[in-house]
């Protein structure tokens, strides 16, 4: 790498356009929001910058703290389910043959390239009252009833008639949708962590008489811990800031923080308060990223030993 002074002109020419774009169309819009978060709404459209902390104080009101807590809780539940589901998948991928491994990885990543909105819409068709799950269960119950009629227990004496479950527009649907969307985020870091694992440790553990479960919890998990932590944070951050999933799959009580921000900017038309909430969400994101950076550094140090 050379010092920028050695060819200053080329440096400036190549650096200026991207820097301009980043500053003009990213840093300035964000700074604008940041200033708004210290402003007050003085009229229907007028906003005055008076450097007050009222918007942040309002964000600490129980209603909004509750929504923050709910977002964290939903993201945590999503992350936990993702860990449980992704771990066996990652193990299976790591221990398969190289060609198979490539295909499995591709299959896991591919949904990621499908539009988020479309994936969420696809879940509506699965979960709604007339959706695939309810219709499938209805079909099962009806046919089980028909089979039971041969032994004289038909006509809904034992089971049925099937009542569709309310699967959509509640918190469970939102968590289901969040897991659906974020699962690839978890599989990839876990795969990377497990791939780096020295297999002789596993062989030693199994040779010395530990079972597969014991080996998993006492050897694999501690060794892969930095990778697990990285996957947890990578899944948690976007899950907490999700807008579309709670918007489309959630009910009136499944509002997450992003939905509140959106409603402050659109329906409620209270930009300063929405700006304060945005920045609180961003600070939470940065905090999570900082934890990840610290963990990664620790892992790097561990490797050098």
């Amino acid at each position: 790498m050379e010092n920028w002074k050695s060819s200053a002109r080329a440096f400036w020419v190549s650096m200026a356009p991207p820097t301009f774009w980043l500053v003009a169309f990213f840093i300035i819009p964000l700074s604008l929001i940041w200033l708004y978060s210290f402003s007050s709404k003085t009229g229907i459209v007028e906003i005055t910058l008076d450097w007050n902390l009222r918007q942040y104080a309002r964000a600490l009101e129980p209603v909004y703290l509750g929504i923050f807590w709910k977002s964290i809780w939903m993201a945590a539940a999503t992350t936990a389910i993702c860990v449980v589901v992704a771990f066996p998948v990652a193990i299976a991928i790591v221990f398969s043959k190289p060609t198979m491994r490539m295909w499995l990885l591709l299959l896991v990543i591919l949904p990621f390239w499908t539009n988020l909105l479309i994936r969420t819409y696809a879940l509506i068709a699965v979960l709604r009252t007339n959706g695939f799950i309810n219709n499938g269960l209805d079909w099962l119950v009806t046919h089980a009833d028909w089979l039971l009629s041969f032994v004289g227990l038909g006509d809904n004496m034992l089971i049925g008639p099937y009542r569709p479950m309310a699967l959509l527009y509640n918190n469970t649907a939102v968590i289901f949708g969040l897991v659906y969307v974020h699962l690839p985020f978890m599989v990839l870091p876990l795969y990377a962590a497990l791939d780096r694992l020295d297999r002789s440790y596993l062989e030693a553990s199994l040779d010395l008489g530990a079972g597969h479960f014991r080996t998993f919890f006492l050897i694999v998990v501690p060794l892969a811990l930095p990778g697990i932590a990285s996957g947890v944070i990578i899944t948690f951050i976007p899950a907490m800031g999700s807008y579309l999933t709670p918007d489309l799959l959630g009910g009136t009580d499944s509002y997450m923080i992003a939905n509140v921000i959106a409603s402050q900017f659109k329906q409620a038309n209270n930009w300063p308060f929405g700006a304060a909430l945005s920045f609180l969400l961003m600070y939470a994101t940065f905090f999570a990223l900082a934890i990840r950076a610290v963990l990664m550094r620790k892992e790097g140090r561990g490797d050098r030993r």
């Binding site: 790498m1 920028w4 991207p18 980043l22 499908t114 659906y180 951050i237 800031g241 807008y243 700006a275």
Partner: protein, 284 residues
């Protein structure tokens, strides 16, 4: 059938990929990931308005999609935005990657962090920031097509070019710096070195970065939703308003088209990358 005869190739202790339970979990997970999407695509051919049970094969809804002017306009808008985003993002991404790869300069870590910001901050924050920004500077409304797509395109470029920069920089890592020094020693100007030595090496990265920018732009909903005006509706925003309204086969048909476009672009990107990895490996 290992139950009936001895398995000629017994499962080793670490052959986790061949254990029944792990295979079952992988199969169920893949089913979970794919069944909704495949169901959605299948039901776009369903001959029933209510879209509940299968009533027979039809391509009516694709014809309806084709004849639906507002949907087609939204589709054209999305493609136009994606193309403009791709061109600008690739150029800006290449310059960013080049600067970060070639130079040492004070505050470089901060600069890199700034470039990563659009990737890491929640989409909703960027969306509302863009909305406020364009409202504040008084971005004119009611411009003729395609200039009215400018604000969305600007926002898309702002989040797409850092992604492109990462892809292109990864490619530059394999570049032998001595080649550019050599060209400079032989009297080539900075610009010629960049054009004739660096860019040819960057090319696969440029293609991959361009395709990434294209899919990111085509797929984006949240940021567009906040930047778009009533007369600048993109395809995902249009689908969103249809989804809010009802679940109809038209939405399925429109979604299927978007999925296929993205899949083709992604497949090309993966193919380009893969081919280059192969070439890279055989060259060493």
């Amino acid at each position: 059938m290992s139950i009936f005869r001895r398995n000629p190739d017994p499962i080793g202790p670490l052959d986790y990929a061949r254990r029944f339970w792990l295979r079952a979990i992988v199969a169920v997970t893949l089913f979970f990931l794919y069944a909704p999407i495949i169901g959605l695509m299948a039901f776009s051919f369903n001959d029933s308005r209510r879209n509940v049970v299968w009533r027979g094969f039809t391509t009516d809804y694709y014809v309806k999609f084709w004849n639906n002017d507002s949907l087609m306009l939204a589709f054209a808008n999305s493609l136009t935005i994606a193309l403009m985003t791709t061109v600008v993002s690739t150029i800006l991404g290449a310059l960013t990657a080049y600067v970060l790869w070639r130079y040492r300069f004070p505050g470089k870590a901060v600069y890199e962090g700034g470039m990563a910001l659009p990737i890491v901050i929640p989409e909703i924050c960027m969306g509302v920031a863009m909305m406020v920004f364009f409202a504040r500077i008084g971005w004119p409304a009611g411009l003729p097509w395609p200039i009215n797509l400018g604000s969305i395109t600007i926002a898309h470029i702002a989040f797409a070019f850092p992604f492109a920069a990462i892809v292109i920089r990864a490619r530059l890592e394999s570049f032998n710096r001595e080649l550019s020094e050599c060209a400079r020693d032989l009297g080539a100007s900075e610009y010629r070195v960049f054009r004739d030595v660096v860019v040819p090496h960057m090319k696969p990265g440029l293609i991959a970065g361009a395709l990434l920018a294209f899919t990111l732009s085509l797929d984006d909903f949240v940021i567009t939703f906040f930047t778009a005006g009533p007369d600048t509706v993109t395809f995902p925003v249009k689908i969103y308003s249809m989804v809010r309204f009802s679940v109809t086969p038209e939405v399925n048909a429109a979604s299927t088209v978007l999925i296929l476009v993205t899949l083709v672009v992604t497949a090309v990107a993966l193919w380009v990358q893969n081919r280059n990895n192969m070439i890279g490996k055989s060259a060493h």
